[in-house]
Symmetry: C2
């Protein structure tokens, strides 16, 4: 996923770096406060820059900062799925979940706020970013399972599990991060396998997949 | 859930009836179009009333109509959970799911749009309505399971399943309502039991519950 653009000129690099710095500052604030409680002024203070500078980069103010932070978090989330296609698939899923839960843990309430839009108005644009991450997660899982043409039942099972993981991680944050991350991870992997096993009763493709997963495990 | 208010005076009843008529017209339009494609003019036409009349009831226009329709749909959804506490719990869950899927089927794309906010800006107010339905669903399920003090693991399992059902029904609409509703319903009930069985490995309360469910089934 490394960008293929030519090395940018000095000035452009400066612009991108500054932008990243401001987004990082916004994300660190979102980790403790809802998006609509984070003003461009707060971001300026956290980044140690002037208020007008923040507005120069984000003339749309709060909403634009929120969207930029959401996109940046979405990119980071996608990196959680970067797992080499080596060894049995379920331990790979465990490792991806470890990274995902570390991301959720690190971003704290900001993660919920980013996902749910907080009180900042949510637009179809931000919904599309979040849906893009969900779709990417489903594609990654199917890729690791070496399924190239998933049938509707298998696809539905995997998408349901992804939504359930999202719900679980929001609840986990609400419940003071209990159970511990490694226990939650194991439980989510077991839920994944159990959901596939239920689908396998009605779907030959899923049945074959479950057999492979249990053999490899 | 019958309102306990005294019988309203003639004029007030007329107002409420008119309001309901307009909301029903909006809901029937949402069943085929995204909320932001439904204008107060369309609602006026569908209800056979004048445009100014719609604006008199919904001066906030599109957004207010959307919120009123969402609240009305949320009330209807809650009625899906009205199931007598008689007989084994899993068939009760099946019957509630039948009503839920009939609701989803009847509202079609409007259901997705209502849940996801479509392109109409979503506010914390509309998010709270949708979350209220989810919470009510979880309470109903725990009530039917006769669990008065659910531990965090059991609660998380049930909330995850509710989110997964929501995701499944959105996908179901996308996939031309396949598999057939009764098959989807059985599969969702089996997913419910399987999710509880996974949790039961780590949680004594859930373990006891699963034992009861399997005995009653």
């Amino acid at each position: 996923m490394t960008p293929q653009a030519p090395t940018p000129a000095y000035r452009r690099l400066g612009v991108e770096e500054r932008r990243s710095q401001l987004i990082d500052a916004a994300l660190s604030l979102f980790a403790h406060r809802a998006p609509d409680e984070v003003s461009p002024e707060d971001v300026a203070e956290a980044a140690g820059v002037s208020r007008p500078l923040v507005y120069r980069y984000f003339p749309g103010g709060k909403q634009q900062l929120y969207e930029a932070a959401l996109r940046s978090a979405a990119d980071e989330l996608r990196h959680c799925f970067d797992e080499p296609r080596e060894g049995p698939p379920l331990p790979r899923l465990s490792r991806a979940l470890d990274r995902y839960l570390a991301f959720v843990d690190g971003h704290g309430p900001g993660f919920s706020a980013l996902l749910q839009g907080g009180s900042v108005v949510e637009t179809s644009r931000t919904t599309a970013v979040v849906d893009g991450v969900r779709r990417a997660a489903a594609e990654h899982i199917l890729g690791h399972l070496e399924v190239t043409e998933p049938g509707p039942r298998l696809r539905m099972t995997i998408r349901m599990w992804i939504t359930a993981v999202e719900a679980a991680s929001l609840i986990w944050l609400d419940e003071d991060r209990l159970p511990p991350a490694d226990e939650l991870r194991d439980w989510l992997v077991e839920q994944f396998l159990a959901a596939l096993e239920v689908t396998a009763r009605r779907d030959a493709q899923t049945e074959a997949l479950v057999r492979t997963l249990l053999t490899d495990a």
